[in-house]
């Protein structure tokens, strides 16, 4: 691999170039300050698409490969991802007094947070949105009601909110919250498709399923708190037709 860099634009001698292999330095460690406006300029390199010094190829092929095979994405592969959740659950169930197990399950959660969101789940959310749009269209043209599609939405919600894993449930709830932040229509979609109702039921079921003290784990409490938070955020919206009655 040959580095061929030719700099087209002239720049001052006091300026100094930041090489590509400094990519791994944190901004704060590099002299950038959070209390002031920092300034930086750049120049354009005319170069071939590879760089010899640290083996980082800059080609499109490399980027495509990187997309699929970087370690974060490898961990996201279905079986690997599933294993991380199984382990968290196993560790949760060991024993409330086993501090090491509790800490380890949290450490695995931290790894989950480092990864991008599971694409499987993203697809289900996208499906929810597109199905909603379809059913609204149907409502207009065929005088069909959304309720007819309720079963189909319910099935999707069953897939999204796994009632047998506290960690998966928390994970999915975070997605709901973020969708709400990003898309202002989302709270209506979630409401109209029965998501709020589904989560309310799930909350009630989860609470009543706790029978023994050992089932009252920290994760269980977190899970209920997250569910409550989502319900709280969604319960205060009004339906579009201005009827603010909340029928479960």
């Amino acid at each position: 691999m040959i580095l061929f860099a030719q700099f087209i634009y002239f720049f001052n001698k006091s300026d100094h170039e930041i090489p590509f292999d400094w990519d791994d330095k944190r901004l704060l460690e590099s002299g950038f300050k959070d209390v002031q406006l920092n300034s930086i300029s750049f120049k354009i390199c005319k170069q071939t698409l590879s760089k010899a010094s640290n083996n980082l190829s800059l080609s499109k092929e490399f980027f495509e490969e990187f997309k699929l095979k970087n370690p974060k994405n490898l961990l996201l592969e279905r079986n690997n991802f599933e294993l991380l959740f199984i382990l968290m659950q196993q560790l949760e169930m060991i024993n409330n007094s086993n501090l090491k197990a509790q800490i380890l399950s949290r450490n695995i959660w931290e790894i989950i947070l480092m990864l991008p969101t599971s694409y499987d789940l993203i697809q289900k959310f996208q499906m929810l949105q597109s199905n909603y749009i379809d059913s609204v269209d149907k409502k207009i043209f065929e005088s069909n009601t959304i309720n007819d599609d309720q079963e189909q939405f319910n099935k999707l919600y069953h897939d999204i909110f796994s009632s047998n894993s506290n960690q998966k449930l928390i994970y999915a709830c975070h997605l709901v919250e973020n969708y709400k932040k990003l898309n202002k229509h989302w709270q209506y979609i979630f409401f109209e498709t029965g998501g709020v109702k589904f989560l309310y039921k799930l909350f009630v079921d989860t609470v009543s399923s706790v029978k023994f003290k050992y089932e009252w784990t920290e994760w269980k409490q977190d899970c209920l708190a997250t569910l409550l938070q989502v319900l709280f955020h969604f319960a205060i919206i009004k339906k579009e037709d201005n009827s603010n009655k909340f029928d479960w």
Partner: protein, 210 residues
């Protein structure tokens, strides 16, 4: 030496094994049989040796091997090997957990440390690529993350060679690679016809970053 059980290695014998490892790397190309045996043994020591110092030392050596010593072919084979190995031990630990809790916990603990430090270093080194991935993806990549509030922001004013200006807000823990990717992305959107040109950051005004 490869016949010694991974549980029985001391710091001294580990040191010898690590030397053997470096020697095989220098002497042979990848895929040699010896190399595979030695690497497997290093993994086993990292996960199974009862002495935390020995295990830690072997882990550090593995991390260094997978992140620094490889002659990368850019095929991500070694990344796959690393993740596959860690996942393999975690699977074992999952099966072992009901049988031998403490042994299983120790494997999980070691896997977590190894994975986390590996991903952290990888994220830094490939920060430009991760950021580019985020910027060019058609959906937000971290939908399951709830952002911590009050994370301090670093505001950066970037000036192009043609005096175009734009400000970027990054977080204190972001990397130089994140900044480079943001500016490259912006530059790309300004210069549709010459978008493939790479930019190189220059710290100006006599201020010495880094």
């Amino acid at each position: 030496m490869p016949q010694l059980k991974p549980e029985l290695f001391s710091l001294i014998s580990l040191d010898l094994l690590q030397n053997l490892h470096s020697f095989t790397i220098n002497k042979n190309c990848e895929n040699s049989k010896t190399l595979n045996i030695v690497v497997k043994l290093l993994w086993d020591i990292a996960f199974k040796n009862p002495n935390p110092d020995v295990s830690m030392n072997a882990s550090r050596h593995l991390n260094n091997y997978y992140l620094n010593l490889l002659n990368c072919t850019n095929k991500f084979e070694k990344e796959e090997e690393f993740i596959r190995s860690c996942i393999g031990y975690l699977k074992d630990a999952s099966i072992l957990l009901p049988i031998s809790c403490n042994r299983s916990l120790s494997i999980i603990e070691r896997a977590v440390v190894l994975l986390k430090s590996y991903i952290e270093v990888f994220c830094g080194r490939y920060s430009y690529f991760f950021r580019t991935l985020k910027l060019t993806s058609n959906h937000y990549l971290y939908m399951h993350r709830t952002r911590e509030k009050n994370e301090p922001v670093i505001r950066i004013l970037a000036t192009s060679p043609f005096n175009d200006k734009n400000t970027f807000d990054l977080f204190v823990l972001d990397y130089i690679g994140d900044l480079r990717a943001e500016i490259q992305h912006w530059w790309h959107s300004l210069q549709k016809e010459n978008g493939d040109n790479l930019i190189c950051l220059v710290s100006s005004d006599g201020k010495n970053y880094i």
